[in-house]
């Protein structure tokens, strides 16, 4: 497979690699920024001012009226079980009590605090990207493998995934048959003549992790957030990859 001719007379040959960009999608919603907090409070205030009385509030007023009538001495004999009925205030107190008893799960996990970059159980409100370290040159990159004749690039990417991750255990959803991004490396002219290729093109396919991940043994891997990605990946590679990643603070 060769690309179109440019200024040179002979067609350029590129090495093709398919890479898989496996992401663990966020589990919880990120906390509101200050402006978002202020706006949501203001909207709540407006809604409260503009709203009509709810059933609960009407019941509360009725109870107050009954209490006042009982206090003044005008007993309402036609409603004998009014006294045993749970008042709105009691109901509210019981609800509040139950709410206080409920403890939601913590937003920061143990792996967050320890900084264990191999686990997917950290940074629950952010995307985590699966990066592996190449054995020879110790370069961090997304799992990739060379394209073979007769297979689609998506199959190449899935094969790359299988080399690093045990696929029956790990379920993954690949998004689409078309690559999401490309990274080109042009070889210097000396290397070009030696290898016969103008350079390398890596095509990225996005995938989402659906279950927990079991990686194959003896590979160096990390699940990195966006900032850690900036520190680990090479600048040019990072630029190609971040073009198709969802923006995050």
């Amino acid at each position: 497979m060769s690309s179109a001719t440019t200024s040179s007379s002979s067609p350029q040959k590129w090495e093709l690699l398919g890479a898989i960009c496996l992401e663990r999608t966020p589990i919880i919603v990120p906390p509101m920024t200050e402006i978002e907090q202020q706006i949501s409070e203001m909207i709540e205030k407006f809604d409260n001012m503009r709203s009509l009385k709810s059933n609960h509030e009407l019941r509360h007023e009725e109870d107050k009226k009954l209490q006042k009538m009982a206090a003044d001495g005008n007993q309402d004999d036609s409603n004998p079980d009014a006294a045993t009925r749970q008042t709105a205030q009691d109901f509210e107190d019981a609800c509040n009590e139950e709410f206080l008893k409920f403890k939601p799960a913590p937003r920061t996990t143990a792996e967050d605090l320890s900084g264990d970059q191999k686990s997917t159980n950290r940074k629950l409100d952010k995307h985590l990207l699966f990066v592996v370290q190449e054995k020879e040159k110790k370069v961090w990159k997304l799992p990739e493998s060379r394209w073979r004749e007769g297979e689609t690039l998506r199959e190449t990417a899935e094969r790359a995934l299988r080399e690093y991750v045990k696929t029956p255990d790990t379920s993954v959803r690949v998004l689409g048959n078309a690559p999401w991004g490309v990274h080109t490396i042009k070889y210097p002219s000396s290397v070009r003549q030696k290898l016969g290729f103008t350079g390398v093109k890596v095509f990225f396919f996005k995938a989402q992790l659906l279950s927990s991940c079991t990686t194959c043994s003896d590979i160096e891997y990390n699940w990195l957030g966006r900032e850690e990605l900036r520190n680990s990946l090479e600048p040019e590679y990072l630029r190609s990859v971040s073009k198709f990643l969802i923006d995050e603070d």
Partner: protein, 186 residues
Amino acid sequence: MVDFFQILGRLIRTVGVAHTELVNVMFSRGLRSNFPAEPEYLDIQGPQVPLYEPLNVQIKSYDYTVLETFSSYIHKTAENLEIEVEDCWATPCQKYKIQTFKPFSTQVDNQYNLNLYERNVQVVDLPTTKAPLFFHVIQAALPEGVRMNVKLHDDTDELLRYVPDLELTQLKSELDALGGPSKSKR
């Protein structure tokens, strides 16, 4: 001219489409039947990329304020990606009554009434090249407490929208009991 107003009306009925957005949509989609400057033969070959059948993006939540804003977000995202949104409807909510019991007895401890609200956004003629992008963007923007499900449109989904007319079904069953409608010709 009549077609123009019909399409305009259909777009206005859908959720969350501002007037300026309407105008942009009309011109960007280039409705060839209404703008004869573009000749018809350009469309003869058909779509270059395979298109999906009508898909329903179904979102459910217990909190309908968040749900409604999110359904309008989906609509706007689709419009911005030049994806045609056919319809955007709300299914009647499912009411759940949850009772917790006191331990080792059948005495009711607490009772909760929950309503599960649902909104559906139907997209048609979605090119297969745009689909992963669209769903990825929407999934990234999912708010708290909202469950999203994308599925092919089913006729049963249409039937769920209609509230059954109890009086009518009762009269019909009474008629059946009495021996069916009279077969005499008038």
